[in-house]
Each structure stands twice: as structure tokens, then as C-alpha cells.
């Protein structure tokens, strides 16, 4: 990733840059990052994966939620260098080339989004829940999503969407 600095004439700015290796949505990557770069910025600018949204930038809203080794993390509150050796999953990794992930289908079927800004974070937090608990109660879903804020929906349809996806995933697992 290109980083541009002010040229103070005669003064050479010593910029510490570290090389990291990590995986994004199953693809291996190498990046050179300044330690102060946030994971959210590495994902959005370095990788061009702008499905990860920056909302509050203060660890409150959860719009920037990604999965790090399968667990949801607010990517505005983790340094990019800390991704070294870890697996990152973003919303772009949910769908396959030909079909949507059941969570994405669920959000469409149950009208789980209006403006859509919180949706990627919601879906990743929900994915982590369903990976661990395929048959969650409504209460489980609400609890798991309590770190993600939505200002449009009142959460009702988001919860329904996740329960829809859970049912579909269970049906698929039953068929398999």
C-alpha cells in the first residue's frame, strides 16, 4: 500500500513499516503497513474491500465488524499489524460466485435492512453466532447482536433475518 508523507527538507522521516502475512476471505496476502494503521483501513483502502463500513470510529457501533479467526472484532479497534498470521473474513467472503449466503438471503427475505450501513457488521456477528449455535433463540440473536447498532430498523427484522438464515442453514445441513 502506498503511503505518502510530508517532505520536511533535509529531514528524513523514519517511518517504521512492518511486513505482515494474513488471510482475507481465504486468500493469502502480504502487506507492508505502518503500525498505526487500523485493520479497518487496511481492509478498506489496502484491499479495496469497502463492504466493511466505518461508522462511529469509537468502538461503539459495530459497523466495521469483521471476523478474526472466526470471532467478531471491531476492525476500527485493532491495529492492522495485529492481523499478522491471522485469518480475516469480511462480508465479501460470505457469498459464493453463484449464490448468496443464507444470511444475505435472510436479510433480503425478511427485510433486515433499510439504509444498509450496519448490515455487513450485523451479518458477520450473526455468522459467528450461527457457527457456534445453529439453533439460537430470539434472545440469543438479540444478545449476540447487541454490539452492533442499527438506526433504521428497530432490530426486529434483523433478528427475523438471522432466525430465517439459521433455519435455512439447519435445513441444508439436514439434507447434506
Amino acid at each position: 500500500m502506498t503511503i505518502v508523507y510530508d517532505d520536511h527538507e533535509g529531514q528524513i522521516t523514519d517511518v517504521p513499516v512492518r511486513r505482515i502475512r494474513f488471510t482475507v476471505n481465504g486468500e493469502k496476502k502480504i502487506a507492508e503497513v505502518e503500525p498505526r494503521l487500523l485493520l479497518a483501513h487496511l481492509i478498506r483502502r489496502g484491499l479495496g474491500l469497502t463492504g466493511t463500513h466505518m461508522g462511529c470510529d469509537t468502538t461503539n457501533c459495530g459497523a466495521c465488524t469483521v471476523l478474526v479467526d472466526g470471532r467478531p472484532v471491531k476492525s476500527c479497534t485493532m491495529l492492522a499489524v495485529q492481523a499478522d498470521g491471522h485469518e480475516i473474513s469480511t462480508v465479501e467472503g460470505l457469498a459464493s460466485a453463484s449464490e448468496l449466503h443464507p444470511l444475505q438471503e435472510g436479510f433480503r427475505e425478511e427485510h433486515g435492512l433499510q439504509c444498509g450501513f450496519c448490515t455487513p457488521g450485523m451479518m458477520l456477528a450473526a455468522k459467528a453466532l450461527l457457527d457456534e449455535n445453529p439453533d439460537p433463540s430470539e434472545e440469543d440473536v438479540r444478545w449476540a447482536l447487541s454490539g452492533n447498532l442499527c438506526r433504521c430498523t428497530g432490530y426486529q427484522n434483523i433478528v427475523k433475518s438471522v432466525l430465517w438464515a439459521a433455519a435455512k442453514l439447519r435445513a441444508e445441513a439436514g439434507e447434506a
Binding site: P16, R36, L38, T58, G62, R71, V73, T77, N148
Partner: protein, 293 residues
């Protein structure tokens, strides 16, 4: 928002981490979960020259009971692990009650109990819990290891007694002498908010009497408050309506709340009293049930 520029090291052993801190200059910070430090750095409230990330140091993720009955929580044990812990559910009622109330579920995947103690936020929940339980922090540095009781660890808002080249490696909760009971109640405007008021109660009872009591308050003063007079009033006594009432009153008097956007000082003091009453009345109920059985 970006943190200001800093040097970053990710040592692979505790010794290496300590020597990096020792040689690291005037302003060094240890990074564990980062759920308080990274936001502070983004807001430029903290601008360390060197950040020593201990996430690659092996053997710090544990929480386990020792043979003497004490509980040890390593510096990289995340809130989420404590929330899911069967050990806490069966042996540590105050901790088990607090674990799901720390921040929000996503923050709990990264943040650590030991980091929360070090951060020493007056609104931090774990400090009250560990204080009520009479716990300590174990710190390692170039001059060896020392154990610091939590009552003497936090010196003020966001301040602790660690030397710049010391790392808090674990928290220790001492073994119980009697049957443990207690809990943690937190008033928050919404999930994930800081406590408007939090109250931790940790009791040990034997023969129908309280043999050890700890009561600590979150968010109602410049630092975590140990309501020691309230705890002393219970010690050696059975839990009765009178002793409970007295302890709740003393705890409310120990609070030093300020009026702010979360509520008035009077309201917060009232909530301290209410929470102590509720937590202790549960203990009374348990005792009654035990005696009836």
C-alpha cells in the same frame, strides 16, 4: 482517526517484552486486548512512543483454579472466555454475573480482565469485582515478580502503581473460606455503555453467618470504591433485614457520585443502595433456603 506514530514490537516471550519495556524510553504501553488503549490512542489521549503487543507471548490466555482454591486469570484471558467459563459459573458467582455485562459481545472477544484492571477506569466493571473478592494483580519486571492487592493497585482515575517496565501478568482471586455467594448488578443506558452505577458483592458464609464480605462500587467516584465499612458491618453477622439495610446504607454513603448525562448524584447514590439491597437479599434467600432444607 489515527493514532499518532509509534514504534511497535510484538515479542514472543515475557522476558523479551519486559526488556523492550525497560529499554523503551519514557512513554511505553503494553497492548493486550486493546479495547481501551486503541480508542485512547485514536483520540490522542494516549500517544505512546512504543507499543509492546503481548498477544504473541505464549501461555497467558488461561484462567484456572490452583490446588489451594485460588483462581488465576492470565493477561490474555479475554472477557468472552470468562463469560463462557463453566469454572466461573460453578465457583465464582460475582465474576460470572459480571462477565456478560462487560462492554458488548464483540468487544468481549478482544478485551481482557487484566487489561481492564490496568486501565483503571472508574467505570470499569472488573475492578469492582476483583476488589470485592479481595483479589490481586501479579506484575513481572526486570526486578522480579510482585503481587499487588487491588486495593493498592489502582491509585486514581486511569492510574495504577505499575512501573513503566512492569507487565501485569495475571490477576489472582484468593480461595474462599466459606460458601461463596454474591453478584454484580450494573445500570446502563443500553448494552455496551459504561456503568451509570455498578455494584459488586462477594460474600463468604459459614454456619449461617457472613465470614467475609466485599462490596465495591463502579462509576460513582473518581476511582473504583471499596465500601469497606459496609462490608465490615456484615462480617460476623447473619444476613437479616437489619444487617442488609445497614450495609446498603453504608455503601450508599461510601459512594461519591457526580451528576452527569447518565444521572444525578442523588439517583446514583439511591441506585447503589438499591443494588446492595437486592444483591444481599438474594444471599438472605439462599441462606433461608439452606436452613429450611
Amino acid at each position: 482517526m489515527y493514532p499518532s506514530r509509534f514504534r511497535y514490537e510484538a515479542p514472543r516471550s515475557l522476558d523479551e517484552a519486559i526488556s523492550l519495556l525497560h529499554d523503551g524510553g519514557d512513554y511505553v504501553k503494553v497492548l493486550a486486548g486493546g479495547q481501551s488503549l486503541v480508542p485512547l490512542m485514536k483520540l490522542r489521549f494516549a500517544s505512546p512512543e512504543l507499543v509492546v503487543d503481548i498477544n504473541n507471548v505464549p501461555g497467558l490466555s488461561y484462567h484456572r483454579a490452583q490446588s489451594d482454591g485460588s483462581l488465576h486469570i492470565g493477561a490474555l484471558c479475554r472477557h468472552a472466555e470468562l463469560e463462557r467459563s463453566g469454572l466461573l459459573k460453578t465457583t465464582q458467582p460475582t465474576m460470572a454475573a459480571a462477565a456478560p455485562l462487560i462492554a458488548d459481545p464483540i468487544v468481549r472477544n478482544r478485551g481482557t480482565l487484566v487489561g481492564s484492571l490496568c486501565h483503571a477506569d472508574p467505570q470499569g466493571d472488573w475492578a469492582s469485582v476483583v476488589l470485592a473478592l479481595g483479589g490481586s494483580v501479579v506484575a513481572s519486571g526486570p526486578r522480579g515478580t510482585r503481587t499487588i492487592p487491588l486495593a493498592g493497585f489502582v491509585t486514581g482515575p486511569f492510574q495504577n502503581v505499575l512501573e513503566p517496565d512492569e507487565i501485569a501478568v495475571e490477576a489472582v482471586i484468593p480461595a474462599a473460606q466459606g460458601a461463596r455467594s454474591g453478584g454484580y448488578l450494573k445500570l446502563e443506558r443500553r448494552v455496551g455503555d459504561f456503568a451509570t452505577v455498578g455494584v459488586a458483592v462477594a460474600l463468604e458464609t459459614s454456619g449461617g453467618k457472613v465470614i467475609r464480605a466485599g462490596i465495591a462500587l463502579t462509576g460513582v467516584g473518581g476511582s473504583t470504591i471499596g465500601a469497606t465499612e459496609a462490608a465490615q458491618a456484615l462480617t460476623g453477622q447473619p444476613l437479616t433485614a437489619e444487617t442488609i439495610e445497614q450495609a446498603a446504607e453504608l455503601a450508599a454513603q461510601a459512594a461519591r457520585p457526580r451528576t452527569d448525562h447518565r444521572g444525578s448524584a442523588d439517583y446514583k447514590r439511591h441506585m447503589v443502595r438499591t443494588f446492595v439491597l437486592r444483591l444481599l437479599s438474594r444471599g438472605e434467600t439462599a441462606e433461608t433456603a439452606e436452613r429450611a432444607a
